[in-house]
Subunit: 247 residues, 2 copies
Amino acid sequence: MTSLNAAGLASIDARLPMYRRIAQLVERVVEFGGLGPGDALPPESQLAADCGVALGTVRRALDSLREDGVIERHQGRGTFVRQPDFHASLLRFFRFGDGVGTLPEGRVLMVNRELADAATAAVLGLGTDSEVLALRRVRSLRGMPVAWERIWLPSSAFGVLAGVPATDFPNLLYPWYQTRCGVLVSRATEELTIGRAEAEDTDLLGGVAGDPVVVIERRATTITGQPVERRITRGLATTFRYRVEIS
Amino acid sequence: MTSLNAAGLASIDARLPMYRRIAQLVERVVEFGGLGPGDALPPESQLAADCGVALGTVRRALDSLREDGVIERHQGRGTFVRQPDFHASLLRFFRFGDGVGTLPEGRVLMVNRELADAATAAVLGLGTDSEVLALRRVRSLRGMPVAWERIWLPSSAFGVLAGVPATDFPNLLYPWYQTRCGVLVSRATEELTIGRAEAEDTDLLGGVAGDPVVVIERRATTITGQPVERRITRGLATTFRYRVEIS
DNA sequence: CAGTGGTCTAGACCACGGT
DNA sequence: CCGTGGTCTAGACCACTGG
């Protein structure tokens, strides 16, 4: 059991600077369920006392966690574990009419047990012949389908979901993963490429075969990088506009 | 003349926290030429003394500047103004063979004086009937053209370049803008959409009409947000793969 | 070796939120 | 009003770089 005090700190690589160790300790407590999204952390002063360090050191640790999107801080109220909202997700850049920046709603069509193909097994860190849960899902903005996706989850952690009818899957999956399976998705990488529409795309999204299609592959992990989900989303390219600030 | 001491600080909004004021002071000194890319800042201790603040306050200002990509810090060596490398630019995600992550080389084909169209005038913050410099450029990876672009610059600052033959334009334009015209490009926003190849695209890049095309519009500014350049890049979608980390 | 940035301490006072 | 996080100070010692 990891706790937010000097005892918990002892289990972390002592070569790291103290502020890194404290940040990592908080991450572990979140990963292993000691604290969940929305929960308040102890006040800085108490953290400093419990860990036996100065206030400034705790503040530095918390500042770095805020930059990483792990916590939120509110002057006068406290520090809270953040509900990851994946605000940077490429999926926010599908648009329909003026619906820019809003996440398309999801509706699950199908859920199956399967043997993982090689690519999925590699992404999820599974051995060959491992079983996975495979979902198929349509995402819509104001009722118009803009994308569809395939999702793979390791059966080991998500087997419980195999018996759930597709219509009972909620719009937001990640909070549900946490309450149903105790798995907190905190980070992900997404990769965007461009392809052309095939029969499955036009069936679900409209358009004609050969139209440009945006393909987004997401690999989601826990806060410490443990793979949790593989997802491939395909949407019509005309509904996509992505913006980035650089320096 | 802005200088890195208490006198320079006096000209900045006193309602800001001191560490913000110091960061802004450094930005001004960079923008107005007091320091350029590669130049060393004074040591933290001297900055603290000159500005009449504690070392920790200076460190906090410099840390925030480093996060914004304005400076680099090297333990034991010093703090230096960073040469912006636009490592997050979408242009890095064109690939040919295994050339992932490398910036395509650029060769200018044409340079012209023109009247700014409405969109360009708006982006550059110019009045109607303003003159701009218009460039056309091909970008290649290992000799293979992967994209081409149109570039617009306000004649007011860049008029000098009108007389330069296209073949004399260097591969990297931004350092050249600085030495030739005294304009330092520090930030930009880029917007990605997807279109289909027209005659101009296939002439320069190959492929056939109707192929998916990546369209990137860049708006580049100085460190303080003054618009400097508008650029539209078009490349074949098959050579494009973009990756992002989210949380 | 001298000088730089990196880490850490132990305080102080201020701004804000909720009771 | 009290408790929270936000800003700032004035030191200390360490780790790294370069001559």
